[in-house]
């Protein structure tokens, strides 16, 4: 979706300010929001791409005004209700109508393994690559209303395959229909001038991770 989360190249957001000696969490609620979000994902009612898509659907004015963990909270509440782990009434009242009859909750012994494996997207499927390093490609000019990992700034732009990372779950379909649609993932190099015009540095480039379905031969 052409949402405000797709920020690459936008103007007017202000300076980058690095906080010295920044704490891992700025308050107790941030820590708890992070932890319940990760722990709730253990039930496998949604995948990481559905999780990202839930945050992208935050109304744009709220998204821009929200902090990182406020977006996480919005996404978690959305998924809990959509995927039936919590009812809308329970979310509103804070009172459980019934205990969950599903899978067991993440326990302490499972934390390390779950943190390690939750993002696994590499697949063993034997799918041939459509491109090889050095190939010239163009990122498709598509504007899906659902989730996509093809940023707007790269659409319709010409690049070169830098590296083939192998076969991965395709995030765009995994977010919308849980279809992993196994295919190759590449680092695609775009010259800064191809993306941003003649004022950009001639030496510089932006590398974007894109899948076969995002690309066409140039």
């Amino acid at each position: 979706m052409n949402g405000v989360h797709d920020m690459g190249g936008m103007h007017g957001m202000g300076p980058v300010v690095i906080e010295m000696d920044e704490p891992v969490f700025h308050s107790e609620w941030e820590a708890r929001a992070y932890a319940i979000t990760v722990a709730a994902a253990f039930h496998r009612k949604w995948n990481i791409d559905m999780s990202r898509y839930s945050r992208e659907r935050m109304p744009p004015a709220r998204y821009l005004a929200a902090s990182y963990y406020e977006r996480w909270l919005f996404g978690l509440e959305t998924l809990l209700v959509e995927q039936g782990l919590v009812t809308a009434t329970e979310l509103e009242t804070g009172c459980a109508e019934a205990r969950s009859g599903g899978t067991r909750a993440l326990g302490v012994p499972g934390v390390a393994a779950f943190l390690r494996d939750r993002l696994k997207a590499r697949l063993d499927d034997d799918v041939p690559p459509k491109f090889k390093p050095g190939d010239r490609v163009v990122a498709r000019n598509i504007h899906p209303v659902g989730h996509t990992r093809l940023p707007r700034y790269a659409r319709g732009r010409r690049g070169v395959i830098d590296r083939d990372h192998g076969v991965f779950t395709f995030a765009d379909t995994n977010a919308m229909s849980r279809d992993k649609k196994p295919q190759h993932l590449y680092s695609v190099r775009f010259a800064a001038r191809e993306l941003w015009g003649p004022d950009a540095s001639a030496r510089d480039s932006v590398f974007v991770l894109l899948w076969d379905d995002h690309l066409e031969p140039a």
Partner: protein
Amino acid sequence: MSDHHHHDDDPIGEHDRPLSGPALRVKALESLLVEKGLVDPAALDELIDTFENRVGPRNGARVVARAWVDPAYKQRLLANGGAAIAELGLAGRGEEIVVLENTPKVRNMVVCTLCSCYPWSVLGLPPVWYKSAPYRSRAVIDPRGVLKELGGEIPDDVELRVWDSTAELRYLVLPERPAGTEGWSEGQLAEIVTRDAMIGVAQAAVPAGSGR
């Protein structure tokens, strides 16, 4: 004169909404999830403790320091980041990590324009600036401006590569080993490798006045 007892311009004042604000929402949601048996509070504590006390940029610094002192390790790290990181016994196993080597002619800088993807296993949870709209919007269109603003202006003849983390691969920048660190131990070297150097918005440097 304003009338302090007039509340028409504040129809939903904070004092009228006891469950407003993220802190109260999170507290209510956690209680609900615990009551429903969906989360275990002890596991929540463990998840928090992992990143508050055990996993953070010190992990990445160990990887960088090892690569600086051991050329064979550096080659393995550049060829397969995840596997080489796992050699050090760090939690990197499972996370796909691509290591980007800085040289005198090439600098690398990492961003996630679409959300906030970040190599948790080697750097911990991302800092606010990395997740902020200013960094996410500007890193791809004006990376040199961002670096200059952060005090790390780079010369025109150095190539800058920006890496947008748009998939389940994470990037770690291998900064250049600073001059003046010859003979330092791996532990001493790890101390000068900062989080920001491993994201690519700063360089590793010998602290001013260092007596080593």
